[in-house]
């Protein structure tokens, strides 16, 4: 999740970096910057909305109690299967639990496994991509052939195979999704590392006798991380989808937990009589994925202009 926060500060930056406003009025620095940020936010409303949506869900995950006074796990059975109302914004489920509370409290589980999946894919993929691009030769060939095969198998099936071996549960689902999406990170990292390590300044560093691990740490790694981080923003949306699918299929968190995919799966039994049980959690997932994709688009654009 830290990548996302970084990308957000980066995104707000271009709005705040209107140089003349800050330079001519040093005393009003903070307010001028705030004004400029606001202007930038208004100029790109969809991006602002996306950042706000992600922030909102992050706050849900950290402090769900701020958004609802209902208990996500205990409900009043006499309130069961009530449609959306002022009291229960998203309606109630078959045990009378407030659906809005369950969605809000579910954010922690869903976001944690998404973050774990993305982090795993980022670390594993970048590691192999780094080795392949830096060592080259047969190591490169071997690693990238394996990655090609991983890409040839649909990631859902790969995740399912890993879950078969590891067993069910939120963490295992996250691990499965992470490993299944590591290959694309490896590809991006490798091509980036190759272009960096053939750059003049890296050759200069090598020629002046810098050891290979120092070259790797000081020059290659920091300079090749940009595109991989942009990819991880995109992967965030994909991972939300993949994890919710797998927990919809019943491989994620066990029943009382309000994980988003599992919520929809519970609502499936009441499709004919309680439309809200499937519709609202689904809308939340769609909003998150759209927001993540919008942000990754902006990060990609920013990276391209630099």
């Amino acid at each position: 999740m830290s990548e996302l926060l970084i990308s957000e500060t980066e995104l707000v930056q271009p709005a705040g970096s209107e140089p003349d406003a800050a330079a001519t009025a040093p005393r009003r620095g903070a307010s001028a910057r705030a004004l400029a940020a606001l202007r930038g936010a208004v100029r790109r409303p969809s991006l602002t909305l996306a950042v706000l949506a992600i922030l909102l869900v992050l706050v849900w995950a950290v402090a769900p109690g701020l958004f609802t006074h209902w208990d996500p796990l205990v409900g009043d059975v006499s309130d069961r299967l009530q449609g959306p109302s002022v009291q229960h914004v998203f309606g109630t489920d078959n045990l009378g639990r407030d659906l809005w509370a369950r969605v809000v409290y579910g954010a922690a589980d869903s976001l944690a496994s998404t973050a774990l999946a993305v982090a795993l894919a980022l670390v594993v993929g970048s590691f192999f991509g780094l080795i392949a691009g830096f060592v080259r030769g047969w190591v490169d060939d071997a690693i990238m052939r394996v990655m090609d095969v991983v890409l040839a198998i649909p990631s859902v099936l790969l995740s399912l195979a890993i879950i078969t071996a590891l067993g069910f549960g939120t963490v295992n689902v996250a691990i499965a999704v992470g490993f299944a999406s590591a290959a694309s990170f490896a590809r991006v990292m490798r091509s980036e590392v190759i272009s960096i390590s053939t750059a003049l300044y890296v050759e200069a560093a090598r020629a002046s006798g810098v050891r290979w691990y120092t070259v790797l740490r000081r020059h290659v790694l920091p300079n090749s991380l940009g595109p991989v981080l942009a990819l991880s923003a995109l992967e965030f949306g994909t991972a939300v989808l993949a994890i919710s699918s797998l927990s919809f299929l019943g491989f994620g968190a066990p029943p009382p937990a309000p994980e988003w995919g599992a919520l929809i799966s519970e609502g499936r039994n009441y499709l004919a009589i309680a439309w809200w049980l499937t519709t609202f959690p689904g809308l939340v997932i769609v909003a998150i994925v759209l927001a993540a994709n919008r942000i990754s688009h902006a990060v990609e654009k920013n990276g391209g202009t630099r």
Partner: protein, 318 residues
């Protein structure tokens, strides 16, 4: 041409071997034990007779060193024997092949729908003169790609089978039961096609030769359909292998939502039962689908783009 074909087929065989090996490593190297599952017979794993587990483990060859297990398994897989379903004792390959036609039917219907939808949306988002219509339509595919497949399926079920009662809510008999699953499955794939095609259409429409066609006074329809589309289709065509993979992955969720018999639902059950052979067959089957569809597309390429001749192209799909 012949040499090209041989090389491509060899590449395909390599991918299949690698997919088999990878799935073997994932399924058999990670912790977990098929013998315990089989001994439990679907019941509680804690009440299993240890002697039975040891006997079964020997029977399955699970007490051999891993590399020996792998070689034996690979040898058997070459003869089409991927092992038996641990619970029913039925050969895994047979179990998959029996439900395959159902899945192929669904995937084919969804592919046709996805292509039609994808092309319509892509063309509609570049064709109209009014910019706001183009922008509105260009916003559709990203939404389609962000929507969970299972959720679309459930919404369609709710609207069209529970409220309007136009289509049956489950089962796989007849054309009417195919409509909703096919629409569901076509949404992400259609969105993907639309995104790819719209992007390359916009690029193509900015090229100088289109300017010239316009300067000669061709109508916008002629510019689109006679000149731009043919070139713009090519990048989309190379992604068909990936698309087929996506479709296959989508059947996992779609078949579960609509309770259809098929490979997707079979693999979900197999994961639940820890039925390693069936899971492995499905993974290898997905690799076969990828290899075959990539090969077919590469062979079709020269007919769509006359500048390309086989043998000299280095389309590294595998």
């Amino acid at each position: 041409m012949i040499r090209y074909l041989i090389r491509r087929v060899l590449q395909g065989v390599f991918v299949l071997w690698a997919a088999y090996t990878l799935s073997f490593l994932i399924l058999y190297l990670l912790p977990g034990d098929a013998a315990t599952v089989a001994a439990a017979g679907g019941g509680d794993a804690s009440s299993v007779d240890p002697a039975l587990v040891v006997r079964l483990r020997h029977e399955y060859g699970l007490d051999e060193p891993l590399w020996l297990q792998y070689l034996h398994a690979l040898g058997r897989a070459l003869t089409g024997n991927f092992g038996d379903n641990v619970q029913t004792g039925q050969p895994a390959l047979q179990a998959v092949v029996r439900v395959l036609p159902n899945t192929l039917e669904l995937a084919a219907a969804a592919l046709v729908l996805a292509i039609v939808i994808g092309f319509l949306v892509a063309i509609a988002s570049t064709f109209p003169r009014a910019a706001w219509i183009r922008q509105l339509l260009a916003g559709l595919p990203p939404i389609g790609a962000a929507v969970p497949v299972f959720w679309i399926g459930l919404l369609l079920l709710q609207a069209f089978s529970f409220h309007l009662r136009w289509f049956p809510s489950l089962g796989d008999q007849g054309l009417r039961s195919l409509v909703l699953p096919a629409v569901t499955l076509s949404v992400p794939t259609g969105a993907y096609i639309a995104q790819l095609l719209a992007r390359s259409l916009r690029l193509t429409l900015g090229r100088p030769y289109i300017e010239q066609v316009r300067a000669k006074g061709a109508s916008e329809a002629r510019v689109h359909f006679a000149h731009a589309l043919r070139n713009a289709v090519l990048p989309t065509l190379t992604m068909v292998g990936v698309l087929v993979g996506n479709l296959l992955a989508g059947t996992v969720v779609t078949e579960t939502v609509f309770s259809r018999t098929g490979v997707g639902r079979l693999v979900v059950q197999a994961v639940g039962d820890r039925d390693l052979p069936v899971v492995q067959v499905v993974v290898v089957f997905a690799a076969v689908a990828f290899v075959v569809s990539s090969l077919v597309v590469d062979l079709l390429y020269p007919f769509v783009d006359r500048r390309i001749t086989l043998g000299r192209t280095a389309v590294a799909a595998a």
